[in-house]
Symmetry: C2
């Protein structure tokens, strides 16, 4: 059996063991790991950018690649309700790469680290055929703010922090070489974590996750881990006019971008009814006892199967 065939999900089940150490609050399977320390809870997360899969040098400047590498990891820490703290950078770089690329990459990483008051404290560098950037980020989280994928409760309302579909729309603009759409392109090249929103929501949310693989995929994670289902109100999904226009130009469906597209890095979170007045965001659905993930719209109801952005879009 090849890696390609079983996909990430099957593999992750194969490699997951229940932690023995009681200081490990959350191990493999959430946005970040959570470990208990005397100071409180520490978050540990790692995410990798591979040239060709996660960026192309024709589209992204080295600085933008560096910014993205940090933002996507901050997004994982934010989705746990935490504050980012320290970064380790592992680079695997081709021999013939110009050193200016590394300078640009670091200038982007520093810029984003400064924004969040993060420090790069270590890393290593080695050679490879393809650029591979692995970032490890630590964070801190108050016990009361910790938001897991497993905390959603039947009856919770589902919110997203912002408009969806931009990641896929931006990718499609570049792939199809569409003219104009400068804002869509910029948002794709410079995705942002939503740390401030996450910290505002965290004390009140029952569960939270960042949207790296499409809303449907992330809600599937939450439903699986919380042993529940969800209804998404299709017509409530917030999508920018520009993103709709990209989809229409290409004869595609902007809701597919939002549900199954990737790399939006907005947050999805679930909140019980009595906390509704405490939080901001776009209401897009409800958590249900029934375990299916269903999409409601004026056209009727559909069941969404496990699907989503698979990170291998250049193949």
């Amino acid at each position: 059996m090849k890696i390609k065939e079983i996909g990430e999900f099957g593999l992750i089940d194969r490699i997951t063991k229940k932690p023995r150490n009681k200081d490990i609050i959350v191990g493999i399977g959430d946005d970040a790991a959570v470990v208990k320390t005397k100071k409180g809870l520490q978050l540990l997360t790692t995410d990798t950018l591979v040239e060709g899969d996660h960026f192309r040098r024709e589209w992204f400047s080295p600085k933008q690649i560096g910014m993205k590498a940090i933002e996507i990891n901050v997004s994982d820490v934010a989705a746990m309700g935490g504050n980012p703290k320290y970064v380790l950078v592992s680079l695997a770089l081709p021999n013939d790469l110009d050193v200016k690329f590394v300078d640009g990459l670091y200038s982007g990483m520093w810029k984003t680290c400064n924004k969040y008051d993060i420090e790069i404290i270590g890393g290593n560098m080695t050679h490879s055929k393809q650029i591979v950037i692995s970032i490890t980020l630590t964070g801190e989280v108050d016990e009361n703010n910790l938001c897991l994928r497993s905390g959603a409760k039947s009856g919770d309302f589902i919110f997203v922090s912002g408009q969806l579909g931009n990641g896929r729309a931006g990718l499609r603009v570049f792939q199809e070489d569409l003219k104009d759409f400068e804002k869509v392109k910029k948002a794709y090249l410079e995705p942002k974590a939503h740390l401030t929103s996450a910290l505002e929501v965290a004390p009140y949310a029952n569960s939270m996750e960042d949207i790296s693989d499409g809303l449907a995929s992330e809600l599937n994670h939450i439903c699986e881990q919380s042993k529940c289902g969800a209804i998404i109100y299709k017509d409530k999904i917030p999508i920018k006019y520009d993103v709709r226009k990209v989809a229409r130009t290409l004869g595609e469906d902007e809701y597919d971008y939002a549900l199954f597209g990737g790399e939006d890095f907005e947050l999805v979170y679930t909140v019980s009814k009595d906390k509704l007045n405490k939080i901001n965001g776009f209401l897009v659905g409800e958590i249900t006892k029934d375990k299916a993930l269903r999409l409601f719209s004026l056209d009727g109801e559909k069941v969404i199967t496990k699907k989503g952005y698979d990170h291998f879009f250049y193949e």
Copy 2:
């Protein structure tokens, strides 16, 4: 300027900034980063194995690759005087890789993690052209046991924890397809961190580092960071009979293996005269005020220039 031309050292200077946060005791440039927490000091390190550079699937079983990936990181934590604790695993894997490879890799990682009572708490998986395994390891260290590269003092004696040259000898046996030398091959395929030795030595050593790039290269790091020099007594360098035999079979010099070969993962540490009775190991030299790195032998004296194992041996 290409990456290849400036090497790792120049690049690391370019990407290093002085930490602003006073909780960062050691940032980029040692075996691991050190950050202050209320519980004590935390160590954070990351190291990457790239197929072709750090392992070949014709030589290593998937299990051995997994074991090596953990051991080399434990070696970094050990060299700081610390105990390893949690692991994050970032895998970049080709599409056509058999899933059995991942199962084997994880069986090796688990085996080594169990040996050191480490837990794998997270990670991620993505696709790439080449297998790239990035491991992040955290650790804990008592303030009194922390051993930095910068702590060596003029007059210190230099010790190594075990016999050197095996890493390069093993590589050469495989490259030249030499028959026999089973022990050399096994030691190359299954390198071990020396955690117990490190923890015994740490309270008494002024500086310590693991030998991943040859004794000369590691002593260069210690001398640079401690603003001193060193004399190595060539004839005192411990080298196994089998390793000498490999070198002689190939018309090569076993001392080159020990000084400039890589991947021995023994420890080099420096100890002041009054602590000599507290520690074990092989005495191989002295720290000097004079900043050169010199090699003394019956044949006379040589100055060793910055050189060493460069991790790109398949080119």
